[in-house]
Amino acid sequence: MRRDSGREGLRVARLDNGLTVILREMRQVRLVSVWCWYRVGSRDERPGITGISHWVEHMNFKGTRTISKDDVTRLVELAGGTWNGYTWLDVTTYFETVQSAALEEMLRLEASRMTDCLYPEAEVERERTVVISELQGGENDPRCYLEREVGGTALQAHPYRWPTIGYLSDLRAITRDDLYRHYRTYYAPNNAVLVVAGDLEARKTLGLVRRIFGRIRRGGDPSPVRTVEPPQSGERRVRLRRPSGAVYLDFAFHAPAAPDPDFATLLVADGILAGGPSVNAWAANSGRGPGKSSRLYRALVEGDLASEVVTALVPSRHPYLYRIMPTAKEGVDPGRIEAVLLGEIDRLARGDIQARDLDRAKNQFLARYALESESVTDVAHQLGFFETIDSHQLYLDLPRRVRRVTAEDISRLARQRLDEAHRTVGILVPAQGAPPPPPAGGATGGPRP
């Protein structure tokens, strides 16, 4: 077993079978959070089996050779715990946050899930309709259509272009054998990362992990994604017409991959534009309001054009998308929103960035980084997420990277990546009924500079 001790309270090791283990002591409460990560997500699919990684995740809650279906969740809840799992572009993960006395039981659960899931035909069929229901529930929100169209337009070759939930036709066609093959291909210790954070003693826990996971045999090494998205060489536009309560806009730009030094630059640029994203894909925006001192809030919301502006920048292994998504106020021409929004990006490109803008954006990022490091669940998530897409060191290094970003960096990034040739603009307008009534109070104000 190779091992290296990292920072205080952090221990990282790799077992002989290739399993990466990250342990973080946080002794303030008697809780532990156990996350088992797999390097598999929608990027590892192809048309015909889109959505399979997510469906496999569902199947892995249906019992194993040693743990009954009921006990997969029951054991967690009896330990005062919460559990869940999710699938995204690069990752599939499962977690339990429980009273620390139940740590060993949770490790056994995850070890069993890695190798022993059952996949009975009847369960596959029942889950087919559940997953389709999840897809259709999402489609009840008209923004889902816009997000899908814009994502699939901005990316034309890379497998990040299809939705993690999959296409309906594929969900209807995927077979039990497809699912089981996917499971067996990607669920192996050498393709996994196990993270435990909380009330634990690292040395003892590592021994326990070795006992429980060490016996699992190494699998084959899954093939990496080879496709690189070809450069975009002109603006792309999508216009949708669907029943909707509002006009929605979605501006997508090609974002740098998380390990790219420019990722931190875009974090700060988004801070100036919109108050900064969370880099925690699980906690997302919990507890955060809109950045009311940000440029887009002031220009679009205070400028009486949009009722809100949301941005998204999720860390990913390969270049994905940076998105700006305003909701138009009733009666506002989306063209006005576009002009003002692009004007704000142009300000960045021209270098119109004051020291205070930069400091505010960095302060916001660094404070959020600290606030999101409070809970054992968040900490275990972040270490595991970054290790799965690149390295946990990248997560630990983000504050340093953010502190070093300069106004020139942002201006260069805006010129190179947020320009016309690299953007996709999507607009969804309501399809049905009478036009919405005019806003209360009458006239709307003009855009701000």
């Binding site: 029942r126 559940v130 009840n140």
Partner: protein
Amino acid sequence: MMPARSVTIPARSVRLDNGLLLIARENRAARSIAARVVVEAGCAFDPPGKEGTAALLAGLLDRGAGNLSAEAIAEGFEFLGATYVARAQRDTLDIEIRLLSEHLPQILDRLRLLLVEPTFPDEEVRREKESTLTAIAEREQDTASVAEEALAAALFPAGHPYHSRRLGTRESIRGIGRDDLRSFHRARLRPAGTILVLAGDLEADRTLDRAAAVFGAWRDGGTAEPRVAVPDVRPPEAPVTIVRPIEGKTQADIALGFVGLPRRSPDLPAAMVLNNVLGEFGLGGRLGKAVRERAGLAYYAYSRFAPGLGAGPFLVRAGVASGRVTRAVGLIRRTIQALRCGVTPAEVKDSKRALSASVPRYMETNPEAAAFLADAAFYGLGIDYPDRLPAQIEAVERREVEAAAGKYLTLGRHVLVVAGPQIKEEEIR
């Protein structure tokens, strides 16, 4: 040195002469603090015809206060990396601020200014009203919101505090002016009854003193209104079925609800266990088993109840494809009926254990602990509630769970709403 390792960290509190309750809870694990304010100014207290007032007010507290502009207030929080969120819930108006502990003094001063001296500038009021109208239009297309709002409107008669929508209606929003906001603020945002919890990297006694110095001078701006009693309602005499078609939807949201219980009800621990058995434990209790796991009908099928100052709804929710609504409603009805016939000792044991053992987790982070304590204090349950709650749950007996099922889940005295694709009402009646 390792911090104390009690199951939950004790909190300290002090009530100021003006009636404000201050609570502090020390947790040195990170250099952060969560502040939570809870005021009895939720949308249940919107003046008649002015529904949406509380939600507007919540959106406007930081849009001008004292001699500070909205811009200056936003800059004040955000330059420090602090986050500020205010929201009108049903009973309460809640504010949550997350901050680095070194900024506590500035943030406390700022919080006082927002609570006590909001200015409601005309421009900001107009803008907030317009954004609310957009949000109302969006909610009218949202099957989950439509189902739950229609359910509340049918369970609670017009004029009841729980009847109306949180955001109000287009008409009520248009009719709200700056004077309405000022008088709502004067009547309901008062030190008496307000709770401020500070949880995190702080020294409890010193922090209570500091907060007392900041908030001690807050005096009622006008007539102090006593705590409002939310009247009891009689459940419907016959089942009510409502179908709300919404264009362009592939999936229907089902809400089947009963009149539940208030937070101070002695039935509360039994109702928690009942709800856990019915629609929470594992993948959604018995409901999740019947509707999702066995029938594969839905991604979500669960129950929850919302006890408040008054008896909030006890409801079952599920989202299913349009062709499966009839079958899902049938399964939901049969699951409730079966539950009324009895629960097993094993179910009760598991649910009690799951609920009581979860309490430390509810209190893990500073924002969670602050919210839990503020909620307990608001409903008069005391700041030691997190310590008492596990024993209350463990003491629940099986017959009490069954009695609660008999009392609160009476089919025939329910409201059923289906929002989404057009379906025939007679099929689900």
